[in-house]
Amino acid sequence: MQALTNRALPVDRKPMTFMEKIYLPAIMKGMSITFGHMFKKRPTINYPEKTRPFSPVFRGLHILNRDEEGRENCTACGLCAVSCPAEAITMEGAERKPGEENLYREEKYAAKYEINMLRCIFCGLCEEACPKDAIYLSETFAPSNYQRKGFIYSKDDLLIPNPITEPEAYAKAKGNRANKTNN
């Protein structure tokens, strides 16, 4: 039957030449190539002493943001939980008491906020859905753990340090992330 394209090459069934039959010249050539590879530079990186640089838009661990005065941005609206395709975020809202104006921005805040890192797929939809610029994905990735419950990160693990009380830790945690230009 006719071939559809003319890309097929016929198989080379010539009998082996004498030099091919004694195997040794081909073996010597192969061995010299392998020997040469011993002196080439290796592309292996010695992790964890050196790490490969991540791009600035790398989607890693979540961070709950604060504004410049140190107040938490999150209002427990639930948009991130709804938009999460893996249902990894759960939260409980609470009302802001009169003496806590410097802690939270608006009258509602998140009393309990938990993200299950084993369910999270690091897609970044929660970051896109948040209207208050309260959650974003940073450059680290989740370290390993021996038990499942070690992977459920609560609000304390996720909150960025206060810029008023701990400015260096805040600056370090902020990294070089590009600022969102809405709100």
């Binding site: 073996i27 192969g30 061995m31 392998t34 292996t44």
Partner: protein, 354 residues
Amino acid sequence: MHFAIDWTLIIEKLVLIIVVVSASLVVAMYSTWAERKVAAIMQDRRGPNRAGPFGLLQPLADGGKLFFKEEIIPNFSTGFLFVLGPCLAMLTAMMTSAVIPWGDKVHFFNRDIQLQITDVNIGILYVFGVVSLGVYGIMIGGWASNNKYSLMGAMRAASQIISYELAMGIALIALLMITGTLSLRTMVQYQVDGIWNIVKQPLGFLIFLICVFAECNRTPFDLAEAENELIGGFHTEYSSMKLGLYLFSEYVNMFISSAVMVCLFFGGYDIPFVNDAHLLQHVGTNWMALIHVGMLFAKIVCFLFFFMWVRWTIPRFRYDQLMNLGWKVLIPLALFNMLVTGAIILLHQNHWHF
């Protein structure tokens, strides 16, 4: 009639045996490390470098892992033979080390101690015989596993080993015609005083080398343990330390075969381009023995590197290609080598007249 037991001789031989056996085990352990490092370097990556500096404690970690694994003895296997297989393989691998001359002699406690466990007159023949016994370890392991894949692997391994023994023997005969002696120590002594045997027998060396690759079940002849062809071959059913013994006995075999090849063809403990007698007068017996042992180990390390280099370069042979090579190519070549050597010896005795 009373027996006077020469206790010093017994103690001396015991100490020598213990030293040689430990040295073989340690060298086999570190050749697993070297194998991984050499493989990595040839494949553009680094080898193990986390366990200790340069990964030098890696073999301890591997040994520890094997010890801690669960010992599985299959229900339908023959119990005694199942355990005996790896033991036989290790036994025959170690027994060959008894006749290798590791150095000239050492002078301790007013005695001259020869650095060789025993200097039998039939040195090479003993080595040959014991290596042939190595087939038993594999066959028994394959049969006692009660597994058709193990049996196939063991069959292939056994047929491969006995096919290549013939060519090895015939290549050795040509060498023996030249040296006239079977004892390894005498052969090394001739090479120390004269030139190395490889100059006199290049084709014989090539044939012997190929056969040693086949005897050690080493690529390109490692059909018997090819993981993706035979699901593990004759060590499918083995776990923990019995598997460790099989793998180890392969490395000990490699080490001892390199030692034998070095003694036969590359001058044993001879230092190239140096007059040994002069150096002996300068340095003294004990230091000379140390230099000799160091030289022998350096040559063995080169050979081990060569084994690993070939392993990570060449794909393995198919079974029919392997048998073809063993019977139809190597045996005629070895016979041809023997005939040519015999002809040249006769001509030499006849002062180059026909």
